[in-house]
Symmetry: D2
Amino acid sequence: MALSARPVVTPPPLREFSATRAVRFGDCDPAGIVFYPRYFEMVNGVVEDWWSHLGMPWPEMIGERRVGTPVSHVDTVFLRPSRMGERLEFRLAVESIGRSSVRFRHRVLGPAGEERIRIRQRMVCVAMDSGLPIAWPTPLRSLLAAWERCAS
Amino acid sequence: MALSARPVVTPPPLREFSATRAVRFGDCDPAGIVFYPRYFEMVNGVVEDWWSHLGMPWPEMIGERRVGTPVSHVDTVFLRPSRMGERLEFRLAVESIGRSSVRFRHRVLGPAGEERIRIRQRMVCVAMDSGLPIAWPTPLRSLLAAWERCAS
Amino acid sequence: MALSARPVVTPPPLREFSATRAVRFGDCDPAGIVFYPRYFEMVNGVVEDWWSHLGMPWPEMIGERRVGTPVSHVDTVFLRPSRMGERLEFRLAVESIGRSSVRFRHRVLGPAGEERIRIRQRMVCVAMDSGLPIAWPTPLRSLLAAWERCAS
Amino acid sequence: MALSARPVVTPPPLREFSATRAVRFGDCDPAGIVFYPRYFEMVNGVVEDWWSHLGMPWPEMIGERRVGTPVSHVDTVFLRPSRMGERLEFRLAVESIGRSSVRFRHRVLGPAGEERIRIRQRMVCVAMDSGLPIAWPTPLRSLLAAWERCAS
């Protein structure tokens, strides 16, 4: 949790899942730029879309399998502001998969492809009923592993 | 921006500004816990309250002086979930003041005083009209310095 | 559901529950005024506070008794805008109590006591597990009736 | 502003603009259904999309022409709840155009085409700098009139 100088490293070439989001009037603040908590709502929706893309939509994961994935750590650098009417591209990559967690790297790109935001995020697999961490159930682990295989 | 293991260090004894917030139904998700973007809305309100406490309410800072303080970095560790009906205590401390930035440490405590969330956040002073960073204007710098003096 | 001309009638003298809310930076839009969905978040919190005041906090109602009160109708007139930094007063009154519903009148007042918003809202008592309307369970009905008695 | 019994009338055949929205995890509350203020965020985004479709995106309307369209009245009937993962269809129709206002009818449909929500909404044309209502500027009025012509 080091609050270091802005990282200048080139992001490594990981497989990326892409989704776009329009910045709307209601996402913006009196300064005319996106109010930063709205980005986390958008990112959460992108993670949700990615799970659907893997074949495990959250209504099934949460509602039927009773497994949730709360965030345990999120570290975000805002490089440039975004404005109403812009279309942003969200790129999700999996950095690593643990016994009961997954680490994401998110990049948010502006209309010209320039980087606006960098996020590193860790989510934990928990049993909904106890709220306690559990090892990824086999069907979920298989989907995560299949994504990772294609990435290499 | 290192996504390291959970920090175990004791937070240093900085002067803290305290504010409480009730967790409401509308802050919580289908898992029954606070949807994490809502914490950032709460934290932003606490920073807003702190500036008022310093003597520089945001309507004056933003509306009249045309200075804003967007977030450039926020790093957050979620230690324990929070639930509807709980009262959380938010404790803001200033870690350092730069030429055109300020670094905060936030701690969110549960009803028994246990730590729920740790946040380190950097905000930048910008001219509203250009969106570019500027050195803290003297009246703002004086207020920040007065806070720091009392802290030591 | 008539979208009529602005009503000019004086509100009848009902017993009112009062709560205040600060308008925050994050509640406001690029026009500098409250983004109207945020008012509904605030009003929902006021209804939540009122139930606590009655003696039935929502964690008990929803979590233990498995009863919820979704909104079935809400009709809102926005008379004047509100801005960052203002303190608003929310006044809730019960207009009527049905077999499985309750009708509220809300008024939102500005710092000088002037009316900013008028809301009429109907909420329905439902069993959380079926999602279907049910008659108010006796303990809830008693609390509602006690409020009404004091009002007359 | 009559809080009447649920209307049973068939909606008249007005020209409709259609947009879809996914219900996300973060839109839902501890009861597992959409927290109703989120619907108003969605509806506001649909109105925003409709203005873009007319040829007047809000960054141009608000940022360059300095004209805004705050809501003065919104009347909403919630017929059925919506859940995480569902795709909703939003249908916007213009009921009438005034000197400085426009009245919308919105219908929100579930995946099987069934009606979930009915909204009647009035928005007012205001000068951003004064906050006061003004007659629709000619370019906006022309776009509104063109939409209405096609509707008949």
